[in-house]
C-alpha cells in the first residue's frame, strides 16, 4: 500500500515536472501562434486599406513607424503629422466639427487625449479579441497604454562625478549645496512633483515647490535639457528617462537618478471614430505592443513600459537603482493633473 502511492507519487511528480516544462512552451507557442494569427488577419484587412494617417507629438516614434513599419508590413504606408501635445485635442475637435477627423490613429499622453474622450472622436474597440492584455486597455476600451513617460532627474556626469553625492530624497534638493545647480521648466517641475504630492498632500507639496524655487535659484527654461547637456547646470530636476537615455546614446555625459518616489504618466494610442483605415490603425497598435514594435520604440525614442516585471530597459534600470514609481491610471489621472496645475500656479503666480 505504501509503495503504490509512492510509485504513484513518483509518476505524478515526473508527469508534473514534464507538464511544467512542456506547458509553458506549449502555451507560449500557442500564444505566439494566436498572436501571429491576429496579426496576419489584421495585416490582410489593413492591406486592403493601403495605409493610414497618424497624429502625435511623439516625433521620433512617428519617424520609426514611417521607416520600420513598412518593412514588416509591406503595402501599408504610414503618413504622420507631429502635433504639439496641447494642440492635439484642438485639432481633433475642430476637424471633427468640420465633418471628419483626418487622422486614423492618434498617440499621446493621457493629458493630451482625455479631453476628446467624450466628444465622439475616439472609437471603442474590441482590444481583447486582438490579444491586448486588459490591464493596458483604458477608458471603456477606447485607449490602449503603449509606453510610460517616466520622470527622473538627469545630471551631467562631468559636473557630478560621484553618484553618492546626488540627492536621495526630495528634501535633499533643498540642501544649500544644490543652490544654482538645478534647471527645469515650470510644466515639468509641477507635473513631476504632483506625483509625490499624491502621497504627502497638497499643502505640503506646494510649500516644498515654493521653497525650492525661492531658495535654490532654480533656473526655469524650455531649454532645460540643453542646459544640462552642455554643463551649464548640473541637474535637470524632473527630467525624463527617455531624454536621459537619448543623451547617453549620443555619447553625452548624462545619467539619471531617482528619489523616494517618482511618477510615470501613461502614453496611449487609439483608433478614431469613423475612420477610413481602422484595420491599419489597429495593426499599428498591435505592432507597437509586439516585441519588434517595442524594439522600434526603444531604438528611436528610448521609451518603454516602466512597470515592474515588464522586462523592459526602463523596468530594469528602475529596479537596478531601487526606484519606486506611481503609475498613471484612469483613476489617479485627474487628481494628479489638478494638483500639478495648483503647484504650477503657486510657482509662477498665474
Amino acid at each position: 500500500m505504501h509503495n503504490v502511492p509512492c510509485r504513484g507519487s513518483k509518476g505524478v511528480l515526473v508527469a508534473s515536472i514534464a507538464l511544467l516544462l512542456i506547458l509553458p512552451l506549449t502555451v507560449a507557442r500557442e500564444g505566439r501562434a494566436a498572436e501571429d494569427k491576429v496579426m496576419t488577419a489584421l495585416y490582410e484587412a489593413a492591406k486592403k486599406e493601403g495605409g493610414l494617417t497618424i497624429y502625435s507629438p511623439a516625433e521620433l516614434v512617428l519617424r520609426g513607424l514611417e521607416k520600420e513599419f513598412a518593412k514588416t508590413f509591406a503595402g501599408i504606408e504610414v503618413r504622420s503629422a507631429t502635433v504639439e501635445p496641447t494642440e492635439l485635442a484642438t485639432k481633433l475637435i475642430t476637424e471633427k466639427r468640420s465633418g471628419g477627423v483626418r487622422a486614423d490613429l492618434i498617440m499621446g499622453s493621457l493629458r493630451d487625449v482625455v479631453d476628446v474622450l467624450d466628444r465622439g472622436i475616439i472609437s471603442a474597440q474590441d482590444y481583447a479579441s486582438m490579444g491586448i492584455p486588459k490591464e493596458l486597455v483604458l477608458f471603456d476600451s477606447k485607449l490602449v497604454g503603449i509606453w510610460n513617460v517616466a520622470f527622473a532627474h538627469a545630471y551631467n556626469t562631468t559636473l557630478i562625478k560621484d553618484p553618492a553625492e546626488l540627492p536621495k530624497t526630495w528634501n535633499d534638493f533643498l540642501d544649500p549645496k544644490w543652490k544654482g545647480k538645478l534647471v527645469t521648466w515650470d510644466f515639468s517641475l509641477a507635473a513631476g512633483l504632483a506625483w509625490w504630492g499624491l502621497e504627502i498632500g497638497e499643502a505640503a507639496v506646494i510649500d516644498y515647490a515654493q521653497k525650492l524655487v525661492k531658495t535654490q535659484d532654480v533656473l526655469l527654461t524650455r531649454a532645460a535639457a540643453d542646459v544640462v547637456n552642455t554643463g551649464e547646470r548640473a541637474i535637470f530636476f524632473n527630467g525624463g528617462l527617455a531624454a536621459a537615455f537619448q543623451a547617453q546614446a549620443k555619447g553625452l555625459p548624462i545619467d539619471f537618478f531617482l528619489v523616494e518616489v517618482q511618477g510615470a504618466p501613461q502614453y496611449v494610442a487609439c483608433v478614431l471614430e469613423g475612420v477610413k483605415h481602422p484595420n491599419a490603425a489597429r495593426l499599428v497598435i498591435k505592432y507597437l505592443l509586439s516585441e519588434p514594435g517595442k524594439a522600434m520604440v526603444w531604438e528611436y525614442q528610448k521609451s518603454a513600459d516602466a512597470h515592474p516585471g515588464s522586462n523592459t530597459p526602463y523596468a530594469k534600470a528602475i529596479e537596478a537603482r531601487g526606484g519606486r514609481y506611481i503609475f498613471e491610471t484612469q483613476d489617479n489621472y485627474r487628481q494628479r493633473a489638478q494638483l500639478a496645475d495648483k503647484i504650477r500656479k503657486a510657482i509662477v503666480g498665474q
Binding site: V83, F187, L219, T221, A225, T230
Partner: protein
C-alpha cells in the same frame, strides 16, 4: 472713361475685401474667443457660451499690472538698444564711404535668416554663466574665476538677446529709407556751413522721422509679441512679460488650452498697438513735410569717413562678431558635432562630421517641406507686398471715407499673437459653414492665406515710403489724364519698388521660417521647413536642427543677396 473708373474701383474694392478677409477673420475670431467659455469647450463648440470669465481671469488679479510693468521695461530696453545699434549701422552702410559695404550689408542681415528659437539657444550656449563660450573666453582673457561674468538668464540678458535679435530687421528697414533719401536738403545744409553732425541731427534725422517712428513702432510691437526669447531666457530671469503670460494658458497642466484667456490677453496687445499707431499718426500728421523722393534723379551723397573708417570697421566687426559670428559659429559647430558641446577640448575636432547634414538631406520630408515652404513664402509675400502698396497709397493719398479704419485694420495683424491667429484660422477654415466646404484645410493654400495676414510691417513701411514721395509726380500724371490705376502702376509703384521689394523680402523671410501657424494648420500634405525644424528640436536632435537651420539660412542668404543686388541695380547705387 467710364470703364477705367470702374476698374479703379474694382481694384480698390478687391484690395479692401482682401484685407477684410485676411485680417478681419482672425480679428473677429480673437474678439469672439475672448468672450467665450467655459474652458472645457472650444469657443465654437455647442457647449460654449458668452462670458466675461476670461477677462476676469486675466485682468482681475494683480498679476496683470506687474506683467504690464515688466513688459514696459522689456520692450523699451530692447527697442532702445536695437534702435541705436541699427541706426548707426544703417547710416554707416548707406551714407558713408565705408569699405565693403555690400558684404557688410549681407553680414548684418544674416541673423534675420536664422529662426528665433535657434538664435535664442545659441545665446544660451554663448552667455551661459558657467559654460557659455563667451564667458569662458572672457574668464581666460581676464583671469577671472568662477561662473560669469555674464548671465544670459537675467533681465539684461533677455533685453540684450531680444534687442540684438531685432537689429537686422530694423537695419534692413532703415537702410532702405536712407538709401532712398534725396540728398538735396543735406547738401543745402552743408553748403550753408552746417557741418556733418549738425546736418545729421537737424536735417537727416528729422527727414527720416516718419520711417524711424514707423520702424520704432514696429519694433516695439514685435518685441511685445516676441515669444521665443522670453520663453527661453525670461522664465529664468523671473520676468513676467505679456508673451510669457500667453504661454501659461496655452500649456495648461490639465484640460484644453485656455484660448479664451489668450484671446483676452490679445485684446490688450490690440489696445497697445492701436495706441502706438495713434501716436505715430499724430507724430507724422504733416507728412508732406517729409517728402524727399521727387521727380528728379538723384544719387544719395556719401560722407567720406577718412581715417574714421577704421574705427567704424572696428565697431562693426565687434558687433558682427557678437551678433553674427559667434551665433553662426555655435550653429555650425553644433551641426558638425551632431549636437552642441562647448569647444573647450581639441579632441572634439575628431568628432566633426557632416552626419547631421546628411541625415537632414536624406530625410524624405526635407525636399517636400522645402517645396511647400518656397511656394507658401513666395506667394504670401507677394500678396502682402502688393496689398501693402495699394493700402498705403489709399490711406496716405486718397480722400476716401473710412480710410482711418483701413489704416487701423492694416496695422492690426501684428497685435494678434501668432498662436491666436493660428487657432483663429484653424477654426475659421474648419468650423465656418461655407468656408470649410472650400476644402482649403490640409493644403498649402490655407497657409498662403493665413500667412498673408501679416500686413502690418509691410503696410507701415510702405506707408512711410509713400509719404516720402512728393505729390507733384502723381499730380503731373493726373494732369496728363492718367487714371488712378495707371498712375499707381506706372508712377507710384516704380518709385516704391525698393520698399516694396524690401517688404516682399522681409515677409518671405518671416514666412519661410514660420513655425506656430504652420504647426497648427499643417498636416501631412502641407508640411513646411519650420515644423520640420521644430520636430528636430522637440526630439532633442540639436545636430539636425542646427544643420537644417544652417541650410535655411544659406537659402535665405542667397535670396537676400539676389534681392539686394536687384534693388541696388534699380537704384543705380
Amino acid at each position: 472713361m467710364e470703364r477705367t473708373i470702374t476698374l479703379d474701383r474694382l481694384v480698390l474694392g478687391a484690395a479692401v475685401l482682401a484685407l477684410l478677409y485676411l485680417i478681419g477673420a482672425p480679428l473677429l475670431m480673437t474678439v469672439f474667443t475672448a468672450f467665450r467659455g467655459p474652458v472645457d469647450f472650444l469657443p465654437f463648440e455647442p457647449g460654449a457660451q458668452f462670458t466675461l470669465d476670461n477677462l476676469r481671469a486675466v485682468y482681475a488679479s494683480g498679476v496683470f499690472r506687474d506683467t504690464l510693468i515688466d513688459t514696459a521695461w522689456f520692450v523699451s530696453g530692447s527697442t532702445t538698444l536695437a534702435f541705436v545699434v541699427s541706426f548707426i549701422l544703417a547710416f554707416l552702410v548707406e551714407r558713408t564711404t565705408l569699405p565693403c559695404r555690400n558684404f557688410i550689408f549681407t553680414l548684418l542681415t544674416l541673423p534675420i535668416m536664422i529662426p528665433p528659437l535657434i538664435t535664442g539657444l545659441s545665446w544660451v550656449f554663448l552667455l551661459g554663466k558657467s559654460r557659455g563660450l563667451l564667458n569662458i573666453l572672457l574668464r581666460g582673457l581676464l583671469g577671472l574665476d568662477g561662473p560669469g561674468p555674464f548671465d544670459i538668464f537675467s533681465w539684461y540678458g533677455m533685453i540684450l538677446a531680444q534687442g540684438l535679435a531685432v537689429v537686422p530687421f530694423m537695419f534692413l528697414l532703415m537702410s532702405g529709407a536712407m538709401r532712398g533719401m534725396d540728398p538735396a536738403l543735406e547738401e543745402a545744409s552743408l553748403v550753408a556751413g552746417g557741418g556733418w553732425l549738425r546736418t545729421l541731427t537737424r536735417v537727416t534725422i528729422p527727414v527720416l522721422r516718419p520711417t524711424m517712428l514707423s520702424v520704432l513702432l514696429l519694433t516695439a510691437i514685435i518685441t511685445l509679441e516676441s515669444f521665443d526669447i522670453p520663453l527661453l531666457l525670461g522664465l529664468g530671469a523671473g520676468s513676467r512679460v505679456l508673451a510669457t503670460s500667453v504661454y501659461y494658458p496655452l500649456y495648461p497642466q490639465i484640460g484644453l488650452p485656455r484660448y479664451g484667456e489668450v484671446a483676452a490677453l490679445a485684446l490688450s496687445f490690440l489696445v497697445i498697438t492701436y495706441i502706438l499707431v495713434y501716436l505715430y499718426a499724430r507724430a507724422t500728421r504733416e507728412q508732406a513735410r517729409y517728402a524727399t523722393v521727387t521727380g528728379k534723379g538723384f544719387r544719395p551723397r556719401q560722407i567720406d569717413l577718412g581715417r574714421w573708417k577704421y574705427v567704424a570697421l572696428g565697431g562693426i566687426s565687434l558687433y558682427v562678431g557678437l551678433q553674427v559670428g559667434l551665433p553662426a559659429f555655435v550653429l555650425l559647430w553644433s551641426s558638425l558635432l551632431d549636437g552642441y558641446r562647448p569647444p573647450t577640448d581639441w579632441a572634439l575636432l575628431s568628432q566633426v562630421s557632416f552626419k547631421a547634414f546628411s541625415r537632414v538631406l536624406d530625410d524624405q520630408r526635407f525636399l517636400f517641406a522645402l517645396r511647400n515652404t518656397v511656394v507658401v513664402a513666395a506667394l504670401s509675400a507677394t500678396l502682402v507686398a502688393l496689398l501693402s502698396a495699394v493700402m498705403a497709397w489709399m490711406v496716405v493719398r486718397s480722400q476716401i471715407k473710412g480710410k482711418r479704419v483701413l489704416d487701423l485694420l492694416a496695422s492690426t495683424s501684428i497685435a494678434i499673437p501668432s498662436v491666436i491667429a493660428g487657432v483663429s484660422f484653424l477654426m475659421f477654415y474648419l468650423a465656418t459653414p461655407g468656408i470649410s466646404a472650400l476644402g482649403l484645410y490640409g493644403t498649402v493654400w490655407i497657409l498662403v492665406l493665413a500667412l498673408s495676414y501679416r500686413t502690418t510691417v509691410g503696410y507701415r513701411i510702405t506707408s512711410a515710403g509713400v509719404s516720402q514721395i512728393k505729390r507733384e509726380l502723381e499730380e503731373a500724371a493726373a494732369v496728363c489724364g492718367s487714371p488712378w490705376l495707371t498712375t499707381f502702376w506706372r508712377v507710384v509703384l516704380p518709385l516704391l519698388w525698393p520698399i516694396t521689394l524690401a517688404v516682399w523680402l522681409l515677409t518671405f523671410i518671416v514666412n519661410f521660417r514660420e513655425l506656430t501657424i504652420a504647426l497648427l494648420l499643417g498636416g501631412v500634405d502641407n508640411m513646411m521647413l519650420g515644423p520640420l525644424l521644430w520636430r528636430y528640436v522637440s526630439s532633442s536632435e540639436m545636430g539636425q536642427a542646427s544643420a537644417l537651420a544652417v541650410i535655411m539660412a544659406v537659402m535665405l542668404l542667397a535670396v537676400g543677396g539676389f534681392a539686394r543686388r536687384f534693388v541696388g541695380t534699380r537704384l543705380g547705387t
